[in-house]
Symmetry: C3
Subunit: 345 residues, 3 copies
C-alpha cells in the first residue's frame, strides 16, 4: 500500500504463522521463517507481500508476480513461478481476507470519523430522556432523540441522527450522516454514511383527485451483524415491520420498500431495489442494479443476476437472470437467439 496509510499495519508475520492461521498446504522445502510485511493485489505485490489468486482473469498476472507468497487453490499451485511460495487453500479469497485481518485488525469495523478519543462529544445533541450505555462514542453533531437507547460499545458517527424511541444494540457502527427512525437495531450492525432507515413507505391511495397518504405505522427491524452500504434507504413497514435478517450484507444505494422481509445472510449488491411486501428467504443473492417486484417471494439461496428483474416468485436454489428473470440458461438462450436473428439478415 502506498502512503499515507489510514490504518496502522501490524508487525511482520512469518509465513509459518500465516500457513497455520489459514490452514494452508505448502511444499515441504518451504522456508517458513520468511517474513511477510503486507498484503497486496497480485499485479502490485512485491517482495515481502502476500497476495491471492481467485478470479481466473488474473492468471496471467500470476506468472509475473513479485509477491513472496500467493494464496491459491490446488489447480494453480503448479503455475506459481519459481521463487514465490504457493500456499494452497480451498478458498483463496477467504484466506486472503483472514490474512488481511491479521495485518489490519482495525479495518474490520469502520473507524470513528472525528478522532479516537471516544466518549460523548460536547458537540453532540443527546435528548435528556435518551438512554446511553457506558462505553458509547457519540461524535460531534450527532443527535440521539427522546427515549432512544444506545448499547455499549456502539459508535454514533458525526452528524448521525438517531430518532425518537430508536433502539440500537451493542458494538454497532452508525456512520456519519445516517438517519434512523422507527427502528430497532441489533448488535454488531454497521451502517455506512448517508443510510436512511425508517422513513415513511411509499403508500398512497391514488385517485383522479390526487393521492391520499396512507399512514405508515410499522417499524424497521435490523438484526445482528447486518451491514448496509452508503446512501441506501430502507422504509419502515406500513402496517407490519420491514425486517433485515441476521448477517445480511447490503451494498450502497440499495432501496428496500415497506413491509419487505429480507432473510438471514442475504447479499444485495449496489443499486438494487426491492419493492414493497416482498420476501427474500435466507441466503438469497441479488446482483447489482436488479429489481424485485412487489408482493413476491424469492426462495432460499436463489441467486438473481445483475441488471435483472424478479417479477414473480422464484423457487429456492436456482440462478435467474433477465427481464423478467428466468433460469439463467434460458436467459442466455434468448440472448443468443436475438443475436442470431440479426445474422440471418
Amino acid at each position: 500500500m502506498s502512503e499515507p496509510h489510514f490504518f496502522t499495519k501490524s508487525n511482520p508475520i512469518s509465513v509459518a504463522s500465516i500457513v497455520e492461521h489459514v490452514g494452508a498446504n505448502c511444499a515441504e522445502d518451504v522456508n517458513l521463517d520468511q517474513s511477510i510485511t503486507d498484503i497486496a493485489p497480485i499485479s502490485e505485490a512485491r517482495t515481502g507481500h502476500v497476495t491471492f489468486l481467485d478470479n481466473p482473469k488474473y492468471v496471467e498476472d500470476l506468472a509475473n508476480t513479485e509477491a513472496t507468497a500467493v494464496l491459491c487453490s490446488k489447480r494453480y499451485v503448479a503455475k506459481v513461478p519459481d521463487g514465490v511460495l504457493a500456499l494452497e487453500v480451498k478458498n483463496p479469497y477467504q484466506a486472503f481476507s483472514q490474512v488481511s485481518a491479521l495485518f489490519y485488525p482495525q479495518a474490520m469495523s469502520p473507524l470513528p470519523f472525528f478522532g479516537s478519543e471516544g466518549g460523548i462529544s460536547q458537540g453532540a445533541h443527546i435528548h435528556p430522556t435518551a438512554q446511553v450505555e457506558s462505553g458509547v462514542t457519540i461524535e460531534p453533531g450527532a443527535s440521539v432523540g427522546a427515549g432512544a437507547e444506545v448499547g455499549a460499545g456502539t459508535t454514533i458517527g458525526v452528524n448521525a441522527v438517531i430518532g425518537q424511541g430508536v433502539r440500537i444494540g451493542r458494538s454497532c457502527h452508525i456512520g456519519a450522516n445516517v438517519v434512523l427512525q422507527h427502528s430497532l437495531v441489533g448488535d454488531h450492525v454497521i451502517l455506512h454514511p448517508g443510510v436512511c432507515v425508517g422513513q415513511d413507505g411509499f403508500g398512497f391511495a391514488m385517485s383522479p383527485k390526487g393521492h391520499q397518504k396512507v399512514p405508515q405505522v410499522g417499524r424497521v427491524i435490523i438484526q445482528d451483524r447486518v451491514e448496509i452500504g452508503a446512501n441506501s434507504t430502507i422504509d419502515r413497514g406500513a402496517n407490519k415491520d420491514t425486517v433485515i435478517g441476521e448477517g445480511t450484507k447490503i451494498d450502497n444505494q440499495v432501496q428496500i420498500g415497506h413491509n419487505v422481509e429480507v432473510g438471514r445472510h442475504c447479499v444485495l449488491v449496489s443499486q438494487v431495489g426491492i419493492s414493497g411486501s416482498s420476501i427474500l428467504e435466507d441466503f438469497v443473492a441479488i446482483g447489482g442494479q436488479s429489481g424485485v417486484a412487489g408482493h413476491i417471494r424469492i426462495g432460499m439461496g436463489a441467486q438473481v443476476a445483475a441488471v435483472s428483474v424478479a417479477k414473480d416468485d422464484l423457487p429456492a436454489g436456482g440462478r435467474y437472470g433477465g427481464v423478467p428473470a428466468k433460469p439463467v440458461r434460458q436467459w442466455f438462450r434468448e440472448l443468443a437467439a436475438i443475436k442470431k436473428l440479426t445474422e440471418k439478415e
Copy 2:
C-alpha cells in the same frame, strides 16, 4: 402491531363509526357496536382488528383471516368467512387508509426526529438575516442560511440545511439531513431524509481538452403537497426552473435533472431517473427503476411500467413498457416472441 409502538394509537372505534367514515355497505344483521382496536394486514389480523383485501394475491388469506372486519370490494364479500364482518367499499385500499388515519392521526406527517418540544433548538444555526415565522420547529444541528424564509408550522429536521435565500412555505416537514438550495417550496410539502434539492445540474460543454462547466442559474420550484422520498436528488434549472407540480409524490432515490417539469399529481416510484429538460404532464406515473430520456414529453395520465425507458415523446393516457418504451401490449408480444424463438430450437 407489535411493541414498542412509535405512534400513539387512538382509542377503540366502533364498527358503526368505521362504516360511516368510509361509506361502507354491510349486511343488515351486523353488530355495529363491536369495537375495533387496531389495523392489521390480512394475514396477521386478529380479533379486534380491521384489515382489507385489495391485491388478488391475498385472496387465500381471506379464508383464514382472524380479523373482526374486512374492507373489500363487492366481488369478495361472499368469500369473507363466517364470523368476520364484510365491509363493502369501492376502493378498499383507500378506505383502509382512511381507517388507518383514524387510529394513527400522528402518522399522516412525519414526526420530529429529536423530540416533541417544538421551537427553535439552541443547537440550530439560524443566520441573522433569515426570517422564521412563529410556530416553526427547528431541530438541533439544522441550519437556515442568509435571507432564507420558513413559514409557520414547518419543521426543519435535525441537521437539515436550508441554503441562502431558500423559501419554504407553511406546514412543511423538512427531514433530517435534507439539503435545499436555490429553491422555492410551497405549503404542506414533505421531504424525507437525505433529499438534495437545488444543486447544479449536470451541464458541461465537452471537448477533447476537457469539459467546461456551464453555469446553472435556475431554481427548483416545489409546489404544494409534494412528497419526496429519502435520498432523492433534484437539480436546479440551467437557465429556467426545474418544477415539481402540486400533489406529486416521489419515492426514494429518484433523480430529476435540470429544467425538468413534472406536472401535478404525478407518481415517480423509487430509483427512477428523469433526464434534463423533459416534461411530464399531470397524472403521469413512472414505475420503479425506469428512465425518461432528455428533452421529451410524456402526455397527461400516461403510465410507464417499471424498468422501462421512455426514449421519445409518449402520447397521453396510454400504458407503455420496455426498452425503449412502447405500448405494453406490443412489449408483451415482443417478450413472448423472444421466448418462442428459443422453443423452436
Copy 3:
C-alpha cells in the same frame, strides 16, 4: 430568469463584447452596440436576451424566438428570423456557456450554503490536530477530523464531515452533508451535497455459515477539477486505491466500487454503477442508469449508451449499447429484429 434570483447578474453586455468573447461571426450590418441583459432558453427568450440553438429538436422554436441574439452553427444562420441577430459559432453550447459565465460568474462554483461571511464558523467542529490553511471557509456543523488537512480557498459546507487524516487541496467546494473518509482530494474539486466517499468497499468472503468481512485498507484518490453529483458514492479500495482521474465529471447518484480506476475527463451520467476493480480509460462516457461489470476495461474514448451494461472489455473509441453492450449498430439491428418478429405474427 424570473425572480428571485439566487445569483447576482452582471451589468448588460454589448453584442460586440459577446461576439468577441466567443469568436462569433455575424452579418456586416449588425448593430454591435445593442445591449444584452441576460441569457435565456430559446423558447423563453425576450428582447435583450441571448440564447442558443444546439439540439435540432428546438429548430421550430427558432422561428418564433423573441431573443435579441442567437448563438448557432452555420447551418441554422439562414433560419434565424428577421430582427434577431445570428451569431455564428462552431459550438453553440460551448459559446452559450461562455456567455452565461459572463453574466453569472458566481455560478461557476457552488455558493456557500449558510452565508457569504467566509471564515471558520464557531458552530464547526475542528479537531485540534487538523490543519487548515488560511482563506478556508468552514460552515456551521461541518467537522474536520484528527490530522485532516484543508487547503487554502476551499469551502467546507454545512454539516460536511471530513474524516480523520483526509487531505483536501485548494479551491475546492465540499458540499453540505458530504462525508469524506480515507481520501486524498486534489485542487478545484467540487463535491455536491450528500456525496459519500471512502467508506468500506463491498467485500465479503461468502460461505454457507455467513459472510466474512474483508478488510478494505485502500484509499480514494480524487484528482484535480473533478466534479461529483449529489448522493453519489465512491468506495475506497480494498488493497489498492480507487482513483477518479483529473477533470472527470460525475452526475448524481452514481456508484463506484472499490479499486475502480476512472481515467481523466470521463463523464458518468446519473445512476450509473461501476463495479469493483474495473478500469475506465481517459475520456470514457457512460450514459445514465448504465452499469459496468467488475474487473473489465473500457478503452479510451469509448461511449456506452444509457441503460446499457458493459459486461466485458470494450475497445477504445467505439460506441456501445444494450444488455450486454455491443456496438450500437448491432444493438439497433437487434431491437429492429425483435420488433419485426411480432409483425410477422
